[in-house]
């Protein structure tokens, strides 16, 4: 079940660098080179300022520069932007603080796809390409509140499958789902004393199985 928990992995660290330069613009441009991102995605903070000849010849600055978010998330946004443009879809990626890229625009329905499969495919590809440090949280994609709606649907589904398992007195398995969806099912039934849940099978066919606790054939 370890893979069902990867949503809770820590966010990637944000690197910072201290640069000596003559202007904030220069600091942003050099920071952009370090991480291979756009200067507008760099945040700069002036640490000290030495005026040359009372400021008449400009200043020497020590500036701390940081990407505004983890670099892998920023690059995921660039990639999503390029892909959506080539797909000819009217959508813009917006990065939230907790590592979610929200796709905003008119073509929300197209990019979600059936059961969110297009969103999942894009999420899979962007993590494969941009997210190297697998000990940190992967970037997630959302569009038009899809995740929240799916969360509610899965919670309802989990409850009804739990009732079915209890009635039947044996295990009931759900459709194959992504780790994020399986986790939601586990969470939905965590406080239900009458059933236990586990995941079985290999990706991409890994699925949740709900066991009634009274089921003697099931060994934890």
């Amino acid at each position: 079940m370890a893979r069902d928990r990867d949503e809770q992995a820590p966010l990637p660290e944000i690197d910072c660098a201290v640069l000596e330069c003559v202007s904030v613009e220069e600091a942003c441009a050099r920071g952009a080179q370090i991480w291979d991102i756009k200067p507008s995605d760099i945040e700069a903070k002036i640490l000290t300022e030495d005026k040359k000849f009372f400021g008449l010849l400009g200043s020497n600055l020590r500036v701390e520069v940081c990407p505004f978010a983890p670099v892998s998330y920023i690059k995921s946004c660039y990639l999503m932007n390029d892909i959506l443009e080539k797909m000819d879809l009217d959508l813009i990626p917006e990065l939230t603080d907790d590592g979610m890229i929200n796709l905003v625009g008119e073509d929300a329905g197209v990019v979600i796809g059936r059961y969110g499969e297009t969103l999942k495919a894009l999420e899979y590809l962007t993590n494969l390409i941009c997210h190297y440090d697998t000990s940190t949280r992967r970037v997630r994609l959302d569009c038009g509140g899809y995740r929240e709606r799916r969360e509610q649907t899965l919670a309802r589904l989990a409850e009804s499958v739990a009732r079915e398992a209890i009635r039947k007195g044996g295990p009931v398995s759900l459709e194959p789902m992504s780790s994020w969806e399986r986790r939601l099912v586990h969470i939905a039934l965590r406080d239900n004393d009458e059933v236990e849940t586990n995941s079985t099978g290999e990706e991409p066919f890994r699925r949740v199985v709900v066991h009634p606790i009274s089921d003697s054939s099931y060994q934890a």
Binding site: K86, T118, Y124
Partner: protein, 81 residues
């Protein structure tokens, strides 16, 4: 109109270790299906296909989603020598 060749080329070039060896071509079958064929260096084929085809399937999903608005039919394949 989406440009399927450009779209697939963009994704595949970022997945492989030899982006210069990537060629993506388009062919239209008699039935009107647009077939996109990916050719990559031998050592990169696994990267494009992925475990149990997970990567090539994701690429197919993305190409198919791109075709929804125009109503075209598109499929993506990897050429193996």
């Amino acid at each position: 109109m989406p440009d399927y060749v450009d779209l697939v080329d963009l994704i595949v070039k970022k997945l492989v270790t030899n982006p210069d060896d990537v060629t993506v071509t388009e062919a239209r079958s008699d039935a009107g299906v647009i077939l996109i064929t990916i050719k990559v260096a031998q050592e990169d084929i696994g990267r494009v296909i992925g475990k149990k085809g997970s990567t090539i399937n994701a690429i197919r999903h993305v190409a198919k989603a791109a075709s929804i608005k125009s109503g075209e039919r598109v499929d993506v394949d990897v050429k193996e020598d």
